[in-house]
């Protein structure tokens, strides 16, 4: 499988935050959700891919090419959407389009018009007059009108109402029907991923906790419930995160079979949601 995006041992240090040797890969034709709590390093990673930040080490390959050496060529084939709208607020949607369009070799006005119509966006409205949801749709129309092979989005769903959010996710789903395209998007809303993601990469505190297909993750991880008598220093080690109370415990494991072998029939194993995985991993050991 050809990787459309490949990040290897990527490093970046700031005064108060470090991205520690992160690696993951997204094959062509799939959607990867990049999840993690606020401040985990999602935006930093995306900015590094877009060369808005300079990496301290590691390698980023897009379309199998170095992202700096072939920056211009790569950016011609990437669409981007950021969490905030950084367009010139004073311009109308059409004016802003004419500012951006000439930069792309394969910009297609017909595609742009089609999206504008589909999103019910007016072409002579000023950008500052658009609502948050409309701005997001406009950004998406702008990002897709040069027919990008890879769409990179930083928190596109944050602050959107559920209807616009589901509309946006539908579009992503439609987009990869064309098996040549991929989407990489960050979010802290795990339900976005339940709906559309094929791959999930989970980042926490500058490190990648896991990066795999969503199905693999949901098949292997499990929420284990049982009585407190089962827990000792040894058995507790299998849990990534655990929550205890007077009646028993509930914990996350990354290998259901192992947990079953260890505790036999004394436990109940539930399928976790991505949210469970995120919350247990981040909060670790907790007592109620």
């Amino acid at each position: 499988m050809e990787n459309i995006l490949e990040v290897t041992r990527l490093k970046k240090s700031f005064k108060d935050f470090t991205l520690k040797d992160i690696s993951f890969a997204l094959p062509r034709g799939y959607i990867m959700g990049f999840i993690g709590p606020n401040g985990a390093g999602k935006s930093t990673t995306i900015k590094l891919i877009m060369n808005l930040l300079k990496k301290d080490g590691g390698q980023i390959k897009v379309f199998d090419k170095d992202h700096i050496k072939y920056e211009k060529e790569i950016k011609n084939r990437i669409g981007f959407v950021y969490d905030e709208n950084h367009f010139y607020e004073e311009l109308t949607t059409r004016e802003m389009k004419s500012v951006i369009a000439p930069f792309y070799e394969s910009w297609d006005d017909k595609t742009f018009d089609r999206y504008m119509k589909h999103f019910k966006l007016s072409t002579n409205k000023k950008i500052k007059e658009l609502s948050k949801g409309m701005k997001m749709k406009y950004s998406l129309a702008m990002a897709l009108s040069h027919n990008p092979e890879l769409l990179i989005m930083d928190e596109p769903t944050s602050g959107l109402d559920p209807i616009v959010r589901s509309e946006l996710l539908d579009i992503l789903g439609d987009l990869i029907q064309d098996e040549n395209k991929s989407v990489f998007f960050s979010t802290h809303i795990t339900s976005d991923l339940d709906k559309v993601a094929d791959f999930v990469t989970f980042i926490h505190d500058g490190s990648i906790i896991l990066s795999a297909t969503k199905d693999d993750i949901l098949d292997n991880y499990g929420i284990v419930k049982g009585g407190m008598d089962l827990l000792n220093d040894q058995t507790q080690k299998v849990f990534i995160g655990i929550r205890k109370n007077n009646y028993g415990f509930e914990g996350l494991v990354d290998d259901r079979k192992k947990a079953r072998n260890l505790f036999r029939d004394n436990i109940v194993i539930d399928k976790p949601s991505l949210e469970d995985i995120m919350v247990y991993t981040v909060r670790g050991d907790q007592h109620v």
């Binding site: 900015k47 877009m50 060369n51 808005l52 930040l53 300079k54 920056e71 211009k72 060529e73 790569i74 950016k75 011609n76 981007f80 950021y82 905030e84 950084h86 367009f87 010139y88 607020e89 004073e90 311009l91 004016e95 004419s98 500012v99 951006i100 000439p102 930069f103 792309y104 070799e105």
Partner: protein, 219 residues
């Protein structure tokens, strides 16, 4: 790259009108001054338009978008420097519109049309100013550079006044008239070419510094 220059003008549509209004204002306000109106008008208009183009980017944080487009940082920096010439052109046009209008409607005031000397002095002043502040803006961003730019802008007004007062002081006037004597021995075209060459060198030097800075800038 030309798209970037066009973008800066498009974003500033309204400011262009303001620039035109400002030129009208100066035609009337500088009635008592001899030979400086065209230079003052064009220099201020160019200063204003360039600052404004950076301000718009800063306001919307649009550099993030610009730097995500398929365009190199070299082109981004170069576009800003080349736009200086476009703005000088626009400033002169704006000033010409103002003076011609005043002339045509026969407003009883004195008007001065820009000549070669005015254009080259404007070029020199504008190049000098931008050569200093553009690298600073590229380094620390428009907002932080703003105070510095204001101070420098004022200096550009006070320094010529200071030089003028030196001229009146008998202690220096002999020396200065020696210099003006040498200058006046050249033809207008020779002086213009010299000033233009100095301006271009300043800009090129400044561009190299800005490029070095901007290549490593993080957003």
């Amino acid at each position: 790259m030309y798209n970037l220059i066009i973008k800066d003008i498009l974003v500033q549509k309204k400011s262009l009108l303001f620039a035109l209004g400002y030129c009208f204002f100066l035609v009337f306000a500088f009635q008592s001054l001899e030979g400086v109106t065209p230079i003052a008008a064009s220099t201020v208009v160019v200063y204003f338009l360039i600052q404004n183009s950076f301000a718009y980017e800063d306001k919307n944080k649009s550099e993030i978008i610009i730097n995500s487009l398929p365009i190199s940082r070299k082109e981004i920096v170069l576009a800003k420097y080349l736009s200086i010439f476009v703005y000088i052109g626009l400033a002169i046009v704006a000033y010409m519109i103002a003076t011609l209008t005043v002339k045509v409607v026969r407003v009883p005031v004195k008007v001065e049309f820009p000549d070669l000397k005015d254009v080259t002095i404007t070029l020199l002043l504008v190049s000098l100013m931008n050569s200093i502040y553009m690298p600073i803006i590229f380094r620390i961003g428009y907002l932080k550079a703003k105070i510095f730019n204001m101070v420098m802008f004022l200096l550009f007004f006070f320094i010529p006044m200071g030089v003028a007062s030196l001229y009146e002081n008998p202690k220096y006037s002999a020396g200065i008239s020696d210099i003006t004597g040498i200058i006046s021995s050249f033809s207008d075209w020779q002086i213009a070419a010299l000033l233009a060459a100095i301006s271009l060198m300043l800009l090129f030097f400044s561009y190299s510094i800005s490029l070095g800075i901007y290549k490593n800038r993080e957003f």
